[in-house]
Symmetry: C2
Subunit: 388 residues, 2 copies
């Protein structure tokens, strides 16, 4: 734990199969007009929509509907959400869905009372909010992004072929989040595993950086072991409550700032994945899985001690008679086997990426400087080629 | 993660060697009159007192001194602290010290505006505060109790020979805590190791309970490995900043409710240790170390799967050709070797306990019901005899 830092996470979490009831306690704390944010309508099929509507009506709220949030929320959708909030003088934003809905709600929350265009202000100039922020609550139905307990909000601009995340401060974090593992049972398997890999990779992004001894890395190893263990149960039986509940809890703690405290972080896999996402609109977790192993194999020589530790502590690789490099490689092979067992996309080609796109994807990839090797543009292109 | 629960921790943490500066940011948020709480005066020797006083004066506060908080704060001291706060119409309580000062500050905070006697109300009848609570801030100078980010407040009544903890809700938790690892450098070695064992045992108390698969147990294993690793560096060089910072951070997360989420917990070692403390006024961590191994060896047969897991995941015990029981025992032996290497007290006799006291200590021990075996009074006495 080197360096100075501060930690505060104000989001209240309600966890468990009865947790939606907490809306009765939370809704009265906020104003009368609620913008109900959701995605493509799956919550209408599985009954969550009607449960939430009933609780909103019972607490006497005026409900303004804002459905159709796409998996990668666009800047056009964001501008439209801001218009809805303004026209209806909305007091509270309730996101019911996955990370996309939570991200979108936060982006709307900091933009409604702001005169400037949110894309320009938050995603190009990376400014901080200097206007009133509308409070946000989340009911999570898909697990992975950690958006339910952090300040992150990723928005995609298809015209500019950019997918950019802004991590806002803790005043933008959801006031509360409802985590009911049963709400995730009906998710299609490919979305479930994409979310699981998103969790795992969030931890990797914070783990594969720095040379110091750090308690955060020990916590990260615990979280990684838990998600690997539970994921193998969940792919066999998606309705295993215990496994799905562990996955849900791990997702929250994988990206609510805890495991990055007092250490440097990487985030290059997300930068590569987000650029792929801007070109293909592919599922976020699958863009990460497709580029991960080529990236980690490329940087392993620059951070061998951590890859050795990863192999031993997370994957239980036997060290007997092997070099550190062999052990590190074996750790990544175990990770690869696990990823294949989950059924993750392992090649960019399977996401619709073509040879012709690679140059543009490389150009759209932000280069981060916290990992074991600051990549050159040529290295980015090589990694993308190896991921194809 | 079985069962329903909610999670919120509102304490803001400032960590690092420059973290005392945060008082400049925090103090203006609270009223003018500050009750400055500290212990036996070591902060006057190491310079922390004058640094804090300077910052208090610079922010224009009226300072009311309340020193002399003892390692096990007594009910008489609590009543006196309440009197000081009332007489001076104190707005804010600033604890500068270890867990005793933080615990005491919280106990004062819920008692000043309460008409009833705090011992009767909070420690005998276990009521919740129904009066105005004075906000508390902490500057930590000794690590172990986790009091800096939780609602716990242990008070000792020597007359009644009772040492009782009340865990208040999150509105009683400190508003902020300053964690500067350098402030712990000058602590005598026996206090350092007592604090380290307190951390480790807090994790054990939450870990050795329940049969379910729980992410909290994976996080616990990570925290235990981190504190074991760093403790062995710190006993060689107490001024190793990296080791002391990891120990400090682990202490906070070992007992701020995170690793107990969604699971049952034990707490019998603390019940035994606290009863010893009420009889001997011995250092808290040493009362825990003296009773731990007899207790864990006694309950291991009732929770063998977890003791097996502890041996493998925390202590790296090789499982080859051994029974689960042998592996569990080997884990506890490794733990014993580590405890001896730290120089912890391993026998109650070394804390001044005599044969004659054992009956009274057993009578004063609260029996908890969350562990692997609900003890009978005879078992409590046996464990104490084995600890003598």
């Amino acid at each position: 734990m080197l360096g100075n830092f501060s930690y505060l996470n104000p989001t209240k979490l309600y966890f468990g199969e009865d947790s939606l009831e907490a809306l009765k306690e939370e809704l009265p704390k906020y104003g009368n007009t609620v913008q109900l944010i959701y995605g493509g309508g799956s919550i209408k099929k599985n009954g969550i929509y009607s449960q939430v509507m009933e609780l909103l009506k019972a607490s006497g709220k005026t409900i303004v509907e804002d459905g159709g949030v796409m998996p990668n929320p666009t800047v056009e959708k964001l501008r439209d959400g801001v218009r809805i909030a303004r026209e209806n003088q909305v007091d509270f934003l309730l996101a019911v869905g996955g990370g996309s809905c939570c991200d979108y709600a936060k982006a709307v929350s900091v933009s409604v009372h702001c005169d400037e265009d949110p894309w320009e202000k938050y995603y190009i100039r990376f400014e901080e909010p200097d206007c009133k922020i509308i409070p946000v609550g989340c009911v999570l139905t898909m697990v992975g992004t950690g958006s339910e307990m952090n300040g992150g909000a990723v928005i995609t601009n298809h015209e500019q072929k950019l997918k950019i995340g802004h991590v806002f401060g803790n005043h933008v974090m959801p006031k509360f989040t409802i985590l009911n593992p049963k709400f995730t049972f009906t998710l299609p398997k490919d979305q479930m595993v994409a979310g699981i890999y998103d969790i795992f990779n969030h931890i990797c992004e914070q783990y594969f950086s720095g040379e110091d001894d750090n308690t955060s890395d020990y916590i990260s190893e615990g979280l990684m072991k838990s998600v690997v263990h539970s994921s193998l149960i969940a792919i066999g039986n998606p309705e295993d409550y215990e496994a799905r509940s562990n996955i849900m809890w791990t997702a929250t703690w994988a990206l609510n700032t805890l495991v990055s405290m007092g250490k440097s972080t990487d985030w290059m896999v997300h930068m590569l994945g987000q650029s792929v996402g801007a070109y293909t609109n592919a599922t976020h977790g699958m863009t990460l899985s497709a580029v991960s192993l080529p990236y980690y194999r490329h940087i392993m020589p620059y951070g061998l001690a951590k890859f050795f530790r990863f192999a031993v502590n997370v994957w239980g690789v036997d060290t007997n008679g092997k070099s550190k490099e062999q052990i590190g490689k074996e750790g990544l092979s175990r990770m690869e086997s696990w990823m294949k067992e989950l059924g993750l996309v392992m090649k960019l080609r399977d996401l619709g990426v073509t040879d012709e796109m690679l140059g543009g994807i490389a150009d759209g990839t932000f280069i981060m400087e916290g990992g074991y090797k600051v990549l050159t543009k040529d290295e980015v292109l090589d990694i993308l080629k190896n991921s194809l």
